[in-house]
């Protein structure tokens, strides 16, 4: 079993990667970057970014491309999706709002932003099953996206007033006489600090600060008469705190940045190796010093020696959404693309229904994505996507023509596009058609890993 390089040398680990003869900027590195920082790239993007070098490639991921995959400018695309969200979400069922988001992921000019929005959805996990109002879920999603690689301070402050979150946590009426501890608990345990970094007393006191916060007819409102304006002591600070004061107190804790950076480590570096504390601390320091600009740790990781080290490749299991969206993008099923509600249903069958995480702790991720039913549905998704029978998912890709368009033989094309150096050559038959090759590579165990 490989162990992580530079475990105890944060400076070396987080220093920007420079291509060298030993560690060249090759296809495997470009593909790794896109798998982790987005949802897998298509062939042209891989080739372009290999020519452009690591700096330009990461720049483009951080800032987004100029055009969406459907040919619209990025701003037109965002306007379209904003309209879809605001108009189609009210009263919609799960597969429709899931579909709106998946449609966006498939065609987005800014894959890192969507990847991070998905990360925050898992972090601030809220389920439509309980909230029962798709419009509120969509609104929360818009909030998460607006700060996905922005300001964590602003995001933490806003999520505390997010109606979907408050309904989800039964915190829609925080009365003076009976403070509701649920939000206070989750914000410390799951959103900002992690277990064991606060006391029960801190929760009770913080809950008093949130009194007076209500959700009335789907909107956050404040009822001043229900606010307990007495002094409170939270995490060592004392004052007549209001709900708005709590995030700042949490953000002052060293544990906060470390908690988040450990999660970012798992997102971008490895799910199966424990995050070395020295590396997390160094990353957290930068995060805190930036005033919680999310872009800072994300950018640090994506440019780092550690991230580009060959040993961290495939140390994550692709989540169903990463798997499905990545495959649709890589195989260029974009004009027309697949039916979005059908894609949503496929993801749900594979075990990840967007907007319906199993609990407030989000999805367990990693090996828990894998069971026989889920694996069957992963292969079935590939068979449907690359077949002609399924009207909603299939018939959009001509595997032979796709390889030919890029001037690469099918075997090399599907291997290099989807798994690069990871799949043993013996696993693929040399004499078969392009469709079967594409199916085999996309159903391979190697391709399940990111």
């Amino acid at each position: 079993m490989n162990s992580l390089p530079h475990q105890s040398d944060p400076a070396r680990a987080w220093a920007p990667y420079e291509p060298s003869a030993r560690d060249p900027w090759d296809l495997a590195r470009v593909a790794h970057l896109h798998r982790r920082a987005g949802f897998a790239a298509d062939w042209s993007t891989l080739v372009r970014d290999r020519e452009a070098g690591p700096k330009a490639a990461v720049d483009r991921l951080l800032d987004g491309e100029s055009h969406a995959r459907d040919g619209q400018t990025a701003s037109d695309f965002d306007a379209l999706l904003a309209a879809m969200g605001s108009r189609l979400a009210p009263g919609a069922n799960a597969s429709v709002i899931q579909g709106i988001w998946l449609y966006r992921m498939v065609l987005t000019p800014h894959p890192l932003r969507e990847r991070m929005t998905l990360f925050w959805h898992d972090h601030f996990a809220t389920s439509l099953n309980k909230v029962g109002n798709a419009a509120l879920m969509q609104r929360q999603n818009d909030l998460l996206r607006s700060q996905a690689i922005g300001d964590f301070k602003a995001m933490l402050a806003a999520i505390g007033k997010d109606p979907a979150m408050l309904i989800w946590l039964d915190s829609t009426s925080n009365k003076k006489a009976k403070p509701n501890e649920n939000y206070a608990r989750e914000v410390m345990e799951l959103f900002a600090l992690g277990r064991g970094r606060y006391s029960e007393k801190d929760i009770q006191e913080a809950a008093r600060a949130f009194t007076g916060w209500f959700v009335i007819r789907d909107r956050w409102s404040e009822i001043p008469s229900q606010h307990d304006d007495g002094p409170k002591t939270v995490l060592g600070k004392t004052g007549r705190f209001r709900g708005e004061d709590i995030p700042a107190i949490l953000l002052e804790q060293e544990a906060c940045a470390e908690f988040l950076c450990e999660k970012l480590f798992r997102l971008f570096v490895s799910e199966v190796d424990p995050a070395p504390p020295a590396l997390v601390k160094a990353l957290a320091k930068r995060f805190r010093e930036s005033g919680y600009a999310i872009r800072v740790p994300v950018e640090t990781i994506l440019r780092s020696n550690l991230f580009h080290d060959a040993s961290v490749r495939r140390r994550r299991v692709k989540s169903p959404v990463e798997y499905a969206v990545g495959t649709v993008r890589a195989l260029e099923a974009t004009k027309p693309t697949v039916s979005a509600p059908a894609l949503a249903d496929a993801c749900s069958r594979m075990g990840q229904g967007l907007y319906t995480p199993p609990s407030v702790a989000g999805w367990d991720g990693g090996p828990s994505w894998i069971n026989t039913t889920a694996m069957l549905h992963r292969t079935n998704f590939i068979l449907a996507l690359l077949g002609k029978d399924d009207e909603a998912l299939g018939g959009r890709i001509d595997p032979a023509a796709l390889a030919e368009r890029h001037g690469v033989a099918p075997l090399e094309f599907y291997r290099d596009l989807l798994v690069q150096d990871a799949l043993a050559p013996a696993a693929l038959p040399t004499k078969t058609d392009a469709r079967e090759l594409a199916v085999l590579v996309a159903a391979s165990p190697e391709y399940q890993l990111a």
Partner: protein, 596 residues
């Protein structure tokens, strides 16, 4: 200008032919009628096949075709250009145009017949030219061309010829044989069958005079100058040929419930006929099946209106989109449910009985509820006055009303219905409270002496802008605000409406009792009204199309635009089903409008 005129009608023909090719290729010639069997599996006749061409070339249909994106793409495709160049080349050789050629070749009529000989289909197509000289010339020229082509490539003569009783037969493959018989072109699917047809032409009709089912239809077709073609299928033979055409006795209970005797007729009828007519302003299609020879069983007879009865007349409130009107004696059918439905469906019905008991104070569903409801069922769909709605929902849905006649002297039942309506509202509110959705507020109003029980959803509260914060953007109004469920009793008619507006509009129309039509069921749809509905919801529909089909905006807009154009063109459609003792008739009429 010329190539354009050439291109578009021809493509239209190709497009149409690919969908209804058996009809498009067939025609009626008086002399040919005697050369095919009286009891063929399929018999199709057209006395004036060129009428189809006339209709296609009419300016209104061309304008309609012009609005279809798929059609435009086909016209512009390389495939189409190649095909039309070939046809143009041949037409030039024959010193004519393709349109002229078709008229000359088939102007005298068309017959298509499929017999079953030794378990295999024997197909005959007879085209009667209006200009026999042109047929002879074209035929010779084409044979020469094919032979010259083969010779040029060093291939043997591709056309085999054989004489039969003084008539030359030609064959280009084992599955084709044709001849010119008495100036008509006869094409068959085997040389053997061609000989049979030639024998019949020389010796006279086999099997004596044609049966009534054929002659009656021929007379009908003649009497209507808009008839494009008509045909007859021998269902008995079809079922014998392939059991998959036989409708099983056991079938989906829903289908049995809805279409009982019609399915029974389809199971037992010896034949079915169809006719298609295309006039200046309307297209019609008619299908007829004889009733079972030994009549319907007692069970299915309960579906048939007695003489003088029929579906109630249609309602035409303001902005009407559609009407469904049905004569059905549900109480009588309920009595024999055990004969119609399988046990698992009966269980569902037993639950309905139990459920109805709760809402109707313990009344038995059949004798207590259905029997009080009578036989007149109507569903009306109409546009709403969206501009006057408050709030205006983002998606604009039509209003629906179920209009049912009740037994004249059962005031207690009428009251029960009103109470049941209120119970439903209460139940809906209970559900809404659980879903945290807004409740329905009840009220009532009186229109022209009729009391309407009304409800409406509480309006969403606009978020108040806080000082210092920008005013929040108004959010799209939920689709539930399309609905203001209402109920009323007008005379003996009970109305359950999805909206107050439609209930109000129906009051004056229901003051006089409904007249009975002669049909059993009538479905009537206004395509223009539907097109308007598509138009006002267009931006939403486009987004939905993008999501559901994965299309980009341009493609989605073109698909929705096409839908709108189709609805406009088929401006009004009526479909009816009539049950008479001797036959069952389905009739479809589509009024043609313009695509724009």
């Amino acid at each position: 200008m010329k190539p354009r005129r050439f291109a578009s009608p021809l493509a239209a023909l190709a497009l149409f032919a690919s969908t209804i090719s058996p009809l498009a290729r067939a025609a009626d010639a008086p002399l040919g009628v005697d050369w095919v069997s009286n009891d063929a599996l399929v018999h199709v006749e057209s006395a004036r096949p060129t009428l189809l061409l006339d209709r296609f070339l009419s300016p209104s249909f061309q304008a309609y075709l012009g609005a279809i994106p798929q059609y435009k793409r086909y016209i512009e495709s390389a495939e189409f250009k190649q095909q039309s160049a070939q046809i143009e080349f041949v037409a030039t050789l024959l010193d004519t145009t393709w349109e002229r050629a078709i008229r000359d070749l088939a102007g005298g009529g068309l017959i298509l017949s499929a017999e079953v000989v030794d378990g295999k289909p024997a197909v005959t197509l007879i085209l009667t030219p209006s200009d026999p000289a042109f047929l002879a010339k074209a035929h010779t020229k084409l044979l020469d061309l094919a032979r010259a082509d083969a010779k040029g490539k060093g291939n043997p003569d591709p056309i085999k010829t054989a004489d039969h009783r003084g008539i030359t037969g030609y064959s280009v493959s084992s599955e084709e044989a044709h001849a010119i018989v008495r100036d008509a072109l006869v094409i068959t699917n085997s040389p053997k069958h061609l000989k049979t047809v030639i024998d019949r032409a020389l010796d006279g009709k086999p099997g004596g005079a044609p049966p009534r089912e054929l002659t009656d239809r021929r007379i009908q077709a003649k009497s209507n100058t808009d008839t494009i073609a008509w045909g007859l299928v021998r269902l008995e033979k079809l079922r014998a040929l392939d059991p998959k055409f036989a409708i099983p006795e056991k079938i989906d209970p829903g289908a049995t419930f809805l279409f009982g005797p019609w399915l029974e007729a389809a199971r037992k009828a010896p034949w079915a006929s169809a006719a298609i007519r295309w006039g200046d302003v309307a297209m019609t299609a008619e299908v007829e099946l004889p009733a079972p020879r030994d009549g319907y069983s007692d069970t299915y007879r309960r579906y048939l209106p007695k003489p003088g009865q029929g579906a109630p007349q249609l309602l035409a409130p303001k902005g009407v989109i559609g009407n469904f009107s049905l004569w059905r004696d549900l109480a009588s059918i309920w009595e024999v449910r055990a004969e119609i439905f399988p046990p698992e469906a009966l269980q569902g019905l037993a639950q309905l009985d139990s459920f109805a008991g709760q809402f109707f104070g313990g009344r038995e569903f059949g004798s207590g509820v259905l029997a009080s409801l009578g036989t007149n069922w109507r569903l009306v769909v109409a546009e709403q006055d969206y501009a006057k709605m408050s709030p205006v929902p983002d998606i604009k849905l039509p209003a629906f009303a179920l209009v049912i006649d009740t037994a004249p002297d059962d005031e207690e039942f009428a009251q029960r219905l009103r109470v049941a309506f209120q119970s439903f509202v209460g139940l809906a509110n209970l559900g809404a409270a659980q879903e945290k959705a807004p409740p329905l507020e009840s009220g009532s109003e009186t229109v022209d002496g009729v009391t309407i029980l009304t409800t409406h959803f509480l309006s969403p509260k606009a978020p108040a802008a806080k000082p210092g914060e920008p005013a929040a953007q108004p959010e799209p109004v939920h689709q539930r605000h399309n609905f203001t469920p209402s109920a009323m009793q007008v005379g003996n008619t009970f109305v359950l409406s999805s909206s107050i507006g439609l209930a109000r509009d129906l009051v004056p129309l229901l003051k006089t009792p409904a007249k009975s039509m002669t049909e059993t069921a009538i479905l009537d749809v206004d395509g223009r009204a539907l097109a308007r509905l598509v138009e006002i919801n267009k931006s939403r529909l486009v987004m939905q199309n993008m999501l559901e089909k994965g299309n980009d905006r341009a493609k989605a807009e073109s698909e929705i635009g096409f839908l709108e154009a189709v609805l406009r063109y088929f401006s009004h459609a009526t479909m009816t089903a009539s049950d008479a003792n001797e036959s069952l008739r389905f009739f479809l009429k589509v009024d043609l409008g313009t695509a724009k």
